[in-house]
Amino acid sequence: MAFKFVLLPTDALLYLLVVVAVIYGMYAARHEHLRAPWRQVRRNPVAMAALVVLAAYVATGLLDSIHFRMRLDVPGAGHHQAIYAPQVRSVLDVLCGPLRKHVERTYSAPFALRSFTPQMVRLPGGQRVLEYPRLQYGGAGIRTSTDRARDIALRCLRATGETLALWVALVCAVVWWRVRHPGEFMRTAFVRLARGATDTPWRTILVTLAVVILLVAAIVNLGGEYHILGTDQVGQDVLYEAIKSIRTGLVIGTLSTLVMLPFAVAMGVMAGYFGGWVDDLIQYLYTTLNSIPSVLLIIAVILSLQLYMANHAASIDNIAQRQDIRLLALCVVLGVTSWTGLCRLLRGEAMKLRNMDYIQAATALGVRSRSIMTRHILPNVMHIVLISVVLDFSGLVLAEAILSYIGVGVDPSMNSWGNMINGARLELARDPVVWWSLAAAFLFMVTLVLAANLFADAVRDAFDPRLRTS
């Protein structure tokens, strides 16, 4: 084989999460009480636009979660004994090949032809002059800035053309698919879609999709030739770093709540249902955990972990694994600090449900406690779980940046927005200002968090029974 798959722990958990999401989707599709709120979300144009953006991020993150090691061609090594590269790459790395490989020597501005910092160059006559050296990859083959402007314009035009072609095909596919519903002509379907009169806001979805496709096409067309968002101090393409950070953000945002979720749900439901000493014990547990300010708890755990890993460095064989263990640990810690809120909510709800007639009836019929909790209470508190998972996501993505800034976040060598900001915070003090690293982290983060916030609002509005009645 030309490569060997590598399954990092967070990869496995992400796949598991996808499987769970698919199972939930299938389950929700067959139950009306779940379909109704999701239908409400589907009709919300803002939520659907946010969903398209989120889907783009998730797709990138998942592509970045299929890891492997390439086989090395070592002369002399026999056929039996394959030698694989020590670096772990992902599918995304392969797709972003030029972005990853075009490493300059140091800072360069977006679309620059020359380096940002001057360098001493010895002329043939022996003189030394300070000049801005030509970049090795940025705009290779382009001579002047007018040439560059023309080249960029041409490439943008091509990206627009490609987008348009793909998008028209998409629109046709949607219209054609909708016509298959009985009693509708192609033309009426198209007009309804253009007017935004469809049940699902297809117009909004398609317009958002057009923007996403345009951006991807622009990156594909321009990224190989230029550094769209410049390069950082060590000459790495900033756009590549920002794209690679997507996976980190997604992992933190989703796995943190999910690693502790079964625990939080079980504890909350048990505390509420049993009451008595079980309740007291669980309450004591979460009050104690809650009373430590979360950032301090995270600091304490990560410090402890750093020490542990420093002393057990021998058993961790490569960088990707070290990064991944640290990332997973951060998720667990963030989960430990954030499960208490959900647990308290569930406890309250379970206490309310315990006195409902149907639970009393089940008890009277001799149903065992475990069955009552899993069959009768759990389905009725699932909406709280869903709302809390969705609402927590954006806060966790933001928390990662702050923690990485303090130095207790993800591994310093890992791509993450927090590390990008941390590395770039002194760049604004330079003259002229190096703004592109910060701008890239800002753009990518705000887009993800804003989309997540908007989507979460729609989900909460649809699932929160308190809001539905008012």
Binding site: Y284, T287, T288, P293, V295, L303, L450
Partner: protein
């Protein structure tokens, strides 16, 4: 009331003991003192003798729980658990790994922290409430819609960007305030004002939206209609009647804000070079000083519990129906 407070304080004891045991387990079970010494000494200088010396120097040389070699009551007190954890319960913080007295440092660094946190908290609360009430005043108009959209966008921006951007704009470009530093007395004002303003601005999106929902919940109530029917101006209705009744959920939310205030302190203090507790903690993280982190975790837990009790007392102040017993 006093009985209630005493009982709450008694309840706090098992929680603080729990916090202590938890951090102790985290620091001394996951990693033994030997690991810690090895880590601090670096890989090159590790000899069994150096490790023992480091442990003696920092008070980590005793057994964890039970010292069989010590005489009498010292069997229990000359242990790491007693020296490093039990003493915390009476606020004896001991020495940091670099040999400084933690209690003294905390007392010194408390004031700069308070100089930032208190104005941020008080002015911030007033600003958030006013802004939220104004959106309720203009509800249903484009102003309200614009405000809500702005709030969602603002809460999607990481606090780091507010700090970095604010420092760049006000200190570097406009040169209104110094970039960083701190001074005692009244001259501290020019150092404090920017962190406070940025702290308030960074929280405005989330808080405004939260408070707005509280106010909107109160807005359709009967007493509001009555107040309007009496001919009170809308401003008066909102700031007098609606605000008073929405105080309970706001107070509950304020407790949630206290831990995040601490996070804010960490970022602000390290960015603006303010010698407060947040910067102290970050320095401890960077130099891997377990003693300081241990003390700060405990202090944070104490403050949180005090905050909870104060919230309950505040309930009785704003709502005469609440009786503490």
């Amino acid at each position: 009331m006093i009985r209630y407070i005493i009982r709450r304080l008694l309840y706090a004891i098992p929680i603080l003991v729990g916090v202590n045991v938890l951090t102790f387990a985290l620091f001394f079970f996951v990693n033994t003192p030997n690991d810690m010494a090895r880590f601090h000494l670096g890989i090159k200088r590790v000899t069994p003798q150096a490790i023992t010396e480091w442990k003696i120097e920092h008070g980590y040389n005793d057994p964890l729980f039970y010292n069989a070699r010590a005489p009498g009551i010292d069997k229990l007190t000359r242990t790491i658990f007693f020296q490093h954890s039990v003493k915390l319960l009476v606020f004896d913080f001991g020495q940091s790994d670099s040999g400084r007295d933690i209690g003294y440092d905390i007392r010194q660094r408390m004031w700069p922290s308070l100089a930032i946190q208190v104005p941020t908290f008080v002015v911030g609360l007033a600003v958030y409430i006013s802004v939220a009430l104004m959106t309720v005043f203009f509800r249903g108009t484009y102003l309200d819609l614009g405000g809500v959209i702005l709030a969602v966008v603002m809460m999607s921006i990481s606090m780091l960007f507010y700090v970095i951007g604010g420092q760049y704009l006000f200190s570097k470009v406009l040169r209104l305030v110094p970039i960083s530093g701190y001074d005692t007395g009244l001259s501290a004002f020019k150092f404090v004002v920017l962190p406070v303003v940025l702290g308030i601005v960074s929280g405005i999106g989330a808080s405004m939206r939260l408070y707005r929902t509280f106010f909107l919940e109160e807005a359709p109530r009967d007493y509001v209609r009555t107040a309007r029917a009496k001919g009170l101006s809308e401003i008066r209705v909102l700031f007098r009647h609606v605000l008073k009744n929405a105080m309970i959920p706001i107070l509950t939310g304020v407790v949630v804000v206290i831990p995040t205030l601490f996070i804010g302190g960490l970022i602000m203090e390290s960015f603006f070079g303010i010698p407060g507790l947040g910067a102290y903690t970050i320095d401890a993280v960077r130099s891997q000083d377990f003693g300081i982190v241990h003390a700060m975790v405990y202090l944070g837990a104490v403050l949180y519990i005090v905050g909870l009790i104060m919230t309950d007392l505040a309930y009785t102040l704003v709502d005469p129906r609440v009786r503490l017993e």
